[in-house]
C-alpha cells in the first residue's frame, strides 16, 4: 500500500513475510487457515475411520425404505407404510408450521410488549418489565414443559364432555378445549365455493387498491378518509353477498365426541399448542427488548415534532416513530426468528413430531443411521435458517434509510 507512487527499489525477500508489517498479516492468516483446514480434515478422517472400525458405512438408502411407524400430526398423507423420506418430510412440514405460527405471534407479542414497556402508565410498564425479565431469564425448554404440563393438568379431559353432567363446548358447543388439545370447527367447501373464493380474492385486491388510492388522495389533498372501515366493508360485504347468492356453499364441520376422542373439525394437539405458546411468548420477550431499543434509538425530537404538527400519540407511534425504528429493529429480529426456528427442535420433549422427532428421532433410532440422519437434519436447519435470513434481509433492504 505504498502511497509514494515510486517503484520499489529493493527486491522482495522471504524474511519480509515475517518482519514486514505489509506481508505479516497475510502470513498469519494463511497459516491460520491452513491449521483450521488440517483440523477439519483430521476430524472428518477420524469420523470416517471410526465408522469403518464399527463396520458402518455411509448409506442414505434408508430414505426409501418403509418407516413402519405412525406420526400423529401429518399435513401430508402419511401412514406406517410410507417411507422414511416421507416421514422426514412430514416432520419438516411440522417444524415449518410451528416456526411460522411462532414467528407471527412472537412478533405481535413482542411489538405490543415493547411499546407498552415504554408506556407512561406505571402499572402497564412494570407488568411488561416483569413479563420480559421472567421469560428472558428462564430456559425455553422449561417454558415448553411448563406450558404443556399446564395444558395437560389444568384443562378438562375429553371425558368431562361425556355423560350425565357433561360440559358443553365454547361458541354454541363448537369449540372444545381439552387437555389433549383444542378441537375447532373446520370449513367444508361444497360446490359453488370457488365463486365465493374468487369474490374474496377480488375484494382483497380492491381493498389494497383503495388503500393506495386513499393514500395518494391524502398526499395531494390532505384529506384523511376512514380507510380502515371502508376496507373492512370492501372485504366483507361482497363476500357475504356472494356466499348467500350461491346458497351457503361453505359450511362448518363441528367436532363431535365419538368413542375415545372428538372426531371431525381441526384438532390442534396439546404438544403443538404448548410448543407454539411457549416459543412465541419466550421469543416475544426478546423481540420486546429489540422493539424498545429501536424506539429509544429514535430521537425524542421526532416525537415532539409530530406532536407539534398536531398528531395524536397513536399516530405518532405508527406513522413517525415505528417506521424509523424498523431500521434498527429488523436486523436483530432476524436472529430472533432464527432462534425460534432452531428452538423448535426441543419439540420432542413434549412429543411434537417435528424434523428432529421423525428424522433425528424415530428414523435414526429404528435404522441406526446416526451419521446420515444428523447430517440431513443439519442440512435442513441450515437451509431453513438461510431462507429466513434471505427473506428478512430483503425486507430489511426495503425499510432501511434510502439515500438518494
Amino acid at each position: 500500500m505504498s502511497t509514494t507512487g515510486q517503484p520499489h527499489a529493493e527486491p522482495f525477500r522471504v524474511s519480509q513475510l515475517l518482519y514486514d508489517t505489509r506481508y505479516r498479516s497475510y502470513t498469519i492468516q494463511i497459516f491460520a487457515l491452513f491449521v483450521i483446514m488440517l483440523a477439519f480434515a483430521w476430524a472428518i478422517d477420524n469420523a470416517v475411520r471410526n465408522l469403518e472400525a464399527l463396520g458402518k458405512d455411509i448409506d442414505f438408502g434408508f430414505i426409501f425404505e418403509t418407516s413402519a411407524y405412525d406420526i400423529n400430526q401429518h399435513l401430508l398423507d402419511y401412514d406406517s407404510t410410507s417411507t422414511h423420506g416421507r416421514a422426514a418430510l412430514v416432520g419438516i412440514i411440522n417444524t415449518t408450521l410451528v416456526a411460522i405460527m411462532g414467528c407471527i405471534t412472537a412478533t405481535i407479542i413482542g411489538v405490543l410488549a415493547g411499546v407498552l414497556r415504554l408506556s407512561r402508565n406505571w402499572v402497564v410498564a412494570r407488568l411488561m418489565t416483569v413479563y420480559i425479565e421472567a421469560f428472558r431469564n428462564i430456559p425455553v425448554l422449561i417454558w415448553i414443559l411448563f406450558t404443556v404440563a399446564i395444558v395437560n393438568e389444568v384443562l378438562p379431559g375429553v371425558r368431562s364432555f361425556r355423560g350425565e353432567d357433561a360440559m358443553s363446548g365454547l361458541f354454541f358447543d363448537s369449540v372444545f378445549i381439552t387437555n389433549r388439545g383444542f378441537y375447532i370447527p373446520a370449513p367444508v367447501f361444497e360446490a359453488g365455493s370457488t365463486a365465493v373464493g374468487v369474490v374474496l380474492a377480488l375484494s382483497i385486491a380492491a381493498a389494497w387498491y383503495f388503500g393506495r388510492w386513499a393514500r395518494a388522495r391524502q398526499a395531494t389533498t390532505g384529506r384523511i378518509l376512514p380507510v380502515f372501515w371502508a376496507r373492512l366493508a370492501i372485504l366483507i360485504v361482497p363476500v357475504l353477498l356472494a356466499f348467500f347468492a350461491m346458497g351457503s356453499p361453505v359450511s362448518l364441520e363441528v367436532p363431535a365426541l365419538k368413542g375415545f376422542n372428538f372426531k371431525g373439525g381441526i384438532y390442534m394437539r396439546d404438544s403443538l399448542i404448548g410448543l407454539w405458546l411457549a416459543l412465541s411468548v419466550y421469543t416475544g420477550a426478546f423481540i420486546a427488548e429489540i422493539v424498545r431499543a429501536g424506539i429509544l434509538a429514535i430521537s425524542r425530537g421526532q416525537t415532539e415534532a409530530a406532536y407539534a404538527l398536531g398528531l395524536r400519540p397513536g399516530r405518532t407511534m405508527s406513522l413517525v416513530v415505528l417506521p424509523q425504528a424498523l431500521r434498527v429493529i429488523v436486523p436483530p429480529l432476524i436472529s430472533q426468528f432464527l432462534n425460534l426456528t432452531k428452538n423448535s427442535s426441543l419439540a420432542i420433549a413434549v412429543g411434537y413430531m417435528d424434523a428432529t422427532g421423525t428424522l433425528g428421532g424415530i428414523t435414526l433410532n429404528q435404522t441406526g443411521r446416526e451419521m446420515e440422519c444428523i447430517l440431513l437434519l443439519m442440512a435442513f436447519y441450515l437451509a431453513a435458517s438461510l431462507t429466513i435470513s434471505a427473506g428478512m434481509n430483503a425486507y430489511n433492504r426495503s425499510v432501511r434509510l434510502k439515500e438518494r
Binding site: V35, N46, N50, Y69, D79, R180, G259, A349, G357
Partner: protein, 339 residues
C-alpha cells in the same frame, strides 16, 4: 479470534475420536469396573433406592457380571439410558454392556451390529387402560389416544397391530416412562402401551393401581436380554454365561445362601462341580477365576431368587413367572448345558 476458532475445531475433532474398539474385556479389566447401561427408571427393573444405589432385576444381572469378572458386585458404574440413547451409548463405547429391557430383533442384531447374548425376561407388548373406560379387549381401542415410548419396538408393533385390525389411533410419542406415566394419569392419553412387565411395574407405582387394567391381548413377542457390540466375542461370552449360570443355578437349587457350602461340600452332581469351579477349568476358558460363578450367584441369588425379590408375585409389581419359569416347570427358560 482465530485461535479461538482453531481451538473449537480441535475440540470438535476430539469429540469425534472415540477410538477403535478392541477387546472390551481387556478395557474393562484395565479400568477395574464395568459400565452398564440400564433404564432411566423402571420400578422393579432398574431404579435408584433412597440411598442413591441402583437396584432392580436388570441391575442385579449387571452386578452379577461384575462379580464374575472382578469378584466384587460393586465394581460397576451405571449409565441410565432412554429408549433412544441406548444404542448410541453402546455403539460409541460409552457403556460396555446394555441390560435395559431391550428386545432382541433381527435388525438390531444384524444392522445395528450388536450381539444379543440371551434372554433374561420373555415379555410381550400389552395395553393398560382405566377400568371405568369399560374396555375389555384391545380390539375395542379404535380411535384411542395411545402413549408410547419412542425409539422402541413397541412403536412399530403398535402401528402393525392397528393396521392389521383396521383401526385408527392417535400416537403420542414420549421419551421416558416417567413422562408417559404423567400423561396417562392426567388423562392426556387413554391407553399406555409398552411391554407387559413394564406396564405392571408402572402400575405398581400408581396411587390407585386397582383402577387400571392390563388388557388380556399380548400383541408381540419381546424377548428382553443383554447385548454388547459386534466383534466382542470374549466379552460377550462372559455376559452370556453369567446369565446362563444364574439360570442353571436355579435348576440345580444353588442359592445365594447355600452356594458356599455347595462349592466346598462334596456334592455328587458333576454339573454343579463344573459350574462352581470345583472341577474342570471353565473359568480359565472364559478368562476368569475358577469361582466366578460363585461370586455371580452370591450377588443376588439364582435367576428365581432375583425374579422373586424384584418383580415376583410377592412384590408390588406382582409378575407371575409365566413363560419365565424353568423349562422343567412349564416355562421356556432353558440354559445350554454347562460342560
Amino acid at each position: 479470534m482465530r485461535l479461538k476458532t482453531t481451538l473449537v475445531a480441535a475440540a470438535a475433532a476430539a469429540a469425534f475420536s472415540v477410538g477403535a474398539h478392541g477387546a472390551t474385556l481387556d478395557d474393562v479389566k484395565a479400568k477395574g469396573f464395568i459400565q452398564c447401561g440400564v433404564s432411566t427408571g423402571l420400578a422393579g427393573f432398574a431404579f435408584t433406592d433412597s440411598d442413591g444405589n441402583w437396584d432392580g432385576f436388570d441391575v442385579v444381572f449387571c452386578r452379577a457380571t461384575a462379580a464374575a469378572v472382578f469378584g466384587d458386585p460393586n465394581a460397576i458404574k451405571f449409565t441410565p439410558t432412554t429408549g433412544k440413547t441406548r444404542f448410541t451409548a453402546l455403539a460409541s463405547g460409552e457403556i460396555d454392556l446394555l441390560y435395559r429391557n431391550t428386545t432382541w430383533t433381527l435388525s438390531r442384531d444384524v444392522d445395528l451390529k450388536f450381539s444379543f447374548l440371551g434372554v433374561n425376561y420373555y415379555d410381550g407388548q400389552g395395553f393398560m387402560i382405566r377400568k371405568d373406560m369399560g374396555v375389555s379387549s384391545a380390539s375395542e381401542l379404535d380411535g384411542a389416544t395411545v402413549c408410547i415410548q419412542t425409539g422402541t419396538t413397541t412403536e412399530l408393533n403398535l402401528a402393525d397391530f392397528f393396521r392389521a385390525n383396521n383401526m385408527n389411533y392417535e400416537p403420542v410419542p414420549i421419551e421416558t416412562n416417567a413422562e408417559a406415566q404423567q400423561k396417562y394419569l392426567a388423562n392426556a392419553c387413554d391407553v399406555y402401551t409398552t411391554d407387559a412387565s413394564g406396564l405392571a411395574a408402572t402400575r405398581a407405582t400408581f396411587e390407585d393401581p386397582e383402577n387400571h387394567v392390563i388388557l388380556p391381548e399380548i400383541i408381540s413377542k419381546e424377548p428382553l436380554g443383554p447385548l454388547v457390540r459386534h466383534g466382542d466375542n470374549a466379552w460377550g461370552d462372559i455376559v452370556r454365561w453369567v446369565l446362563n449360570a444364574l439360570i442353571i443355578a436355579e435348576e440345580k437349587g444353588i442359592t445365594a445362601a447355600n452356594v458356599d457350602s455347595m462349592a466346598s461340600a462334596d456334592t455328587k452332581d458333576p454339573e454343579i462341580k463344573r459350574l462352581l469351579g470345583v472341577e474342570g477349568n471353565y473359568g480359565e476358558m472364559l478368562g476368569l477365576s475358577a469361582d466366578w460363578a460363585v461370586h455371580a450367584i452370591k450377588t443376588g441369588g439364582n435367576y428365581g431368587e432375583i425374579f422373586e425379590k424384584h418383580i415376583g408375585e410377592n412384590t408390588a409389581i406382582g409378575l407371575a413367572r409365566g413363560l419365565n419359569q424353568l423349562w422343567t416347570k412349564g416355562g421356556i427358560l432353558y440354559a445350554p448345558p454347562f460342560r
